[in-house]
C-alpha cells in the first residue's frame, strides 16, 4: 500500500512539474507582456525599468529558474494591473468558487449515481431510455447556452431568480443547476455502465441465491463494486467541473476565481493567469491522488498486490 501511494505521489509531482513548465513556456514564449500593459508610445527606457522590475530582461532559462524558485517559495508575483499580489487576488475569490463548485459537485454526484443506478436496474425500459437520452442531451448542450436559456426563462420571463451576482442563495440556483445538469448527466452514464457490468457478475447471483432482498443486493453487493470505477471517473470530472465553472461564472457574473481568470486572460495578466492555472492543476492532481488512494480502500484487491492500480 505504501509503495502504491508513493508511486502515485511521485507521478503527481511529475505531472505538476510538467504543468508548471508548460505554463511558463506558453506564457513567456508569447512575446513581451509589456506591450499589452503599456500603450505603444511608451519610451523604451521606461519599459526597461519595468522589465528589470518584473525580471523579464533576463534569458529565458534564467527566467525559468527564477520562476521555479519563486513558485517553490510561494511567491506568485503581482498582477500587472493593480499591483496587488496574485495570491491575494485569487484566494480572495476562491470561497465563492468553492461554494458554487462544491454545491454542484455534491448534488451532481448524488443525482448522477441515483439516476444511473435506476437506469441500470430498469435496463431497456422507458426509464432507462429516458434517463440516458436526457444524459446525452445534458452534455451535448453547450453549458453557456443552457445558462442563457435558464436566465431567459427564470430571470427575464418569470422573474423568479436573479441573473447575476452572488449575494443570496437564490443567486446560487441557476449557476449550480447549469453546471450540475451536465455533470450529473455524465456521472449517470458512467454509473449505469459500471452498474450493468456489476449486475451481470456471478456474485450478484450468489447474493440472490442467498435470499438477499432486492434492495440489499443493490445497496450492499452491487453499489460498493460499481463505486470503484465510478469514483475514478468522478475524480476526472472534477477537472471538467472547474473548466465549466470558469464559463458559468462569467455568464452569471459570479464573483469567483473563474471569472477573474477570464478577465485576466482578456487583459493578459500574467501572474494571475499563471497562479490560477497552477491552482487548478494542483487541485485536480490532488483530487486524483485522493481518488487513487480512496480506490485502494474501495478495492481490497489493490492493497495487497501493491501498485496494481493500472
Amino acid at each position: 500500500m505504501t509503495r502504491y501511494v508513493l508511486i502515485k505521489v511521485l507521478r503527481s509531482i511529475f505531472t505538476l512539474w510538467i504543468v508548471v513548465s508548460a505554463v511558463f513556456l506558453v506564457l513567456r514564449a508569447s512575446g513581451d507582456p509589456l506591450y499589452s500593459v503599456f500603450s505603444l508610445g511608451t519610451p523604451e527606457a521606461t519599459l526597461d525599468v519595468f522589465r528589470a522590475k518584473w525580471g523579464i530582461d533576463k534569458s529565458i532559462f534564467e527566467q525559468y529558474v527564477i520562476y521555479l524558485g519563486d513558485i517553490l517559495r510561494g511567491d506568485f508575483g503581482t498582477s500587472f494591473f493593480d499591483g496587488q499580489s496574485a495570491w491575494d487576488l485569487v484566494t480572495e475569490r476562491l470561497p465563492k468558487t468553492l461554494l458554487l463548485g462544491g454545491t454542484t459537485f455534491v448534488i451532481s454526484v448524488i443525482a448522477g449515481v441515483l439516476l444511473g443506478t435506476i437506469a441500470a436496474l430498469k435496463r431497456g425500459t422507458v426509464w432507462d431510455r429516458g434517463i440516458m437520452t436526457a444524459a446525452v442531451a445534458s452534455f451535448s448542450m453547450p453549458s453557456y447556452f443552457l445558462a442563457l436559456l435558464l436566465i431567459l426563462l427564470f430571470s427575464l420571463k418569470l422573474r423568479w431568480l436573479p441573473t447575476a451576482g452572488a449575494d443570496t442563495w437564490k443567486h446560487l440556483i441557476l449557476p449550480a443547476t447549469t453546471l450540475g445538469l451536465t455533470l450529473s448527466g455524465s456521472i449517470a452514464r458512467f454509473t449505469r455502465s459500471a452498474m450493468l457490468e456489476v449486475l451481470r457478475q456471478s456474485y450478484m447471483r450468489t447474493a440472490r441465491a442467498k435470499g438477499a432482498p432486492r434492495w440489499r443486493q443493490i445497496a450492499w453487493h452491487a453499489l460498493p463494486n460499481a463505486a470503484i470505477p465510478t469514483v475514478t471517473v468522478i475524480g476526472f470530472q472534477l477537472g471538467w467541473l472547474i473548466g465549466g465553472s470558469v464559463v458559468i461564472e462569467t455568464v452569471f457574473a459570479w464573483p469567483g476565481a473563474g471569472r477573474l481568470f477570464i478577465t485576466s486572460v482578456g487583459v493578459r495578466d500574467f501572474a494571475v493567469v499563471q497562479l490560477f492555472i497552477l491552482m487548478v492543476a494542483s487541485t485536480v492532481i490532488l483530487a486524483n491522488l485522493l481518488v487513487d488512494i480512496l480506490y485502494g480502500f474501495l478495492d481490497p484487491r489493490i492493497s495487497v498486490t501493491g501498485g496494481g492500480g493500472k
Binding site: T206, K210, H221
Partner: protein
C-alpha cells in the same frame, strides 16, 4: 420434517423433498424464443444425491436456476411445477422465495472465484446468510461463521474470517461458498459444477466434503456436472440430460452397468475404464446442438447411430424399465 422412512435407499422415492414436474423454460432472444428446458421431471429425497449430468447447453444449470427462480430476465418458466416439501415454488411470492433461498435451499456455483463478492470479506459474506435467515446477534453470527469455516475445512478460521476472496485459493473459495450455502442448514443443496473450475486434486476433496456434509446435515443434494467421474464418485441417482430434456434416469450403479440410452452409452464409451479393456476411446460424433438447432422428435437423433424413421417427428416417451429406471428412447440399448 425428516421422514425416517426416507433414509433407506429403497425408500428414496417415497416422498421426495423436491419434485420437478414437466418444467419448461424458454429463453427470449432477438431471433425468437428457444425452449432450453423441455418438460423436465426430476426428484430428489432427503439424504440422497441426484447427479444431473449432461454436456454444457443441455439445460441442467437452467433447470436448477429455475427451481430457485434465479433465471435471468430473458429466461422464463412456461410450464411445470416445482414442488418443494409439497409446495409449488413457482407459485409462491417473491418474499417467500427470498426466505427459502439460502435458508431451506442452498446453492453452490461453478466458479467460486467469481461467485464471491470481491469487496466483502469472506466472514461478512457467510454471516450475511445467517443474518438474513436467522435471528442471531452480531457476535452470535460471527461465532457461527467461525464454526462453519471450521466445518468446511478451512484452516485458521479466525484469520480467514476477515480476508477477501482474492486472498483465497480456488479450493478454499469453494469451501467458503459451501459454508455460505449450508450456513442455515438447508434441506436441499444444489451444487452447480462445484468442482469444474478447480484442480483435480482439490476436486476430490470438495466432493468428499459435500458428501460428508450431506450425511451430517441430512440434506438432499443435487449435483450438476458434465463429468461422469464426479457422478460415479458422489451420486446416488442419476438423470442424464440432453438438449433440454432428461433422456435417462437410473441409480448410479445401474447406469454405469447397463446404460439404456445411446447418448448415455456414448458418454460412457468416451470414458477410460479399468474394468473393460478398450483399444481406443470413442467420442460421440458431432456436437451438442445450440437451442435454435433443436430438432423435433428425439433430439439426439442427428447424432445417434441407432435411429430410424420412428425417431424423428415425435418425442420419445419415457419407458419405465423398472421402479427406478426410465429411458426416453425408441430403441434403447438393451433392446437392440
Amino acid at each position: 420434517m425428516i421422514d425416517p422412512s426416507n433414509t433407506g435407499p429403497d425408500a428414496a422415492r417415497a416422498t421426495p423433498l423436491l419434485e420437478v414436474r414437466g418444467l419448461s423454460v424458454v429463453f427470449d432472444t432477438p431471433d425468437g424464443c428457444h425452449r432450453v428446458v423441455d418438460n423436465v421431471d426430476l426428484q430428489v429425497s432427503a439424504g440422497r444425491t441426484l447427479g444431473l449430468v449432461g454436456e454444457s447447453g443441455s439445460g441442467k444449470s437452467v433447470t436448477c436456476l429455475a427451481v430457485l427462480r434465479l433465471l435471468a430476465v430473458r429466461g422464463r418458466v412456461t410450464s411445470g411445477e416445482v414442488l418443494f416439501q409439497g409446495r409449488d415454488l413457482l407459485k409462491v411470492s417473491e418474499e417467500e422465495m427470498e426466505a427459502l433461498r439460502g435458508c431451506q435451499i442452498g446453492m453452490v456455483f461453478q466458479d467460486p472465484m467469481v461467485s464471491l463478492n470481491p469487496v466483502r470479506t469472506i466472514g461478512w459474506q457467510i454471516a450475511e446468510s445467517l443474518h438474513l435467515h436467522q435471528n442471531l446477534s452480531k457476535s452470535g453470527a460471527a461465532k457461527r461463521t467461525l464454526e462453519l469455516l471450521d466445518l468446511v475445512g478451512i484452516p485458521e478460521p479466525k484469520t480467514r474470517f476477515g480476508e477477501y476472496p482474492h486472498q483465497f485459493s480456488g479450493g478454499m473459495s469453494q469451501r467458503a461458498m459451501i459454508a455460505m450455502a449450508i450456513a442455515c442448514q438447508p434441506k436441499l443443496l444444489i451444487a452447480d459444477e462445484p468442482t469444474t473450475a478447480l484442480d483435480v486434486t482439490i476436486q476430490a476433496q470438495i466432493l468428499e466434503l459435500l458428501s460428508d456434509l450431506k450425511k451430517e446435515l441430512d440434506m438432499a443434494l443435487i449435483l450438476i456436472t458434465h463429468d461422469l467421474g464426479v457422478i460415479a464418485e458422489a451420486a446416488d441417482d442419476v438423470a442424464v440430460m440432453y438438449a433440454g430434456r432428461v433422456v435417462e434416469e437410473a441409480p448410479v450403479l445401474d447406469l454405469f452397468d447397463s446404460p439404456l440410452h445411446h447418448y448415455t452409452m456414448g458418454l460412457l464409451n468416451s470414458l477410460p475404464r479399468i474394468d473393460r479393456s478398450v483399444d481406443r476411446l470413442s467420442a460421440i460424433e458431432g456436437a451438442a446442438p445450440p437451442p435454435q438447432d433443436f430438432v423435433e422428435g428425439c433430439r439426439f437423433e442427428p447424432r445417434c447411430g441407432h435411429c430410424d424413421d420412428a425417431c424423428s417427428g415425435v418425442r420419445p416417451d419415457f419407458s419405465q424399465i423398472s421402479d427406478t429406471r426410465r429411458v426416453a428412447c425408441m430403441h434403447p440399448v438393451a433392446a437392440t
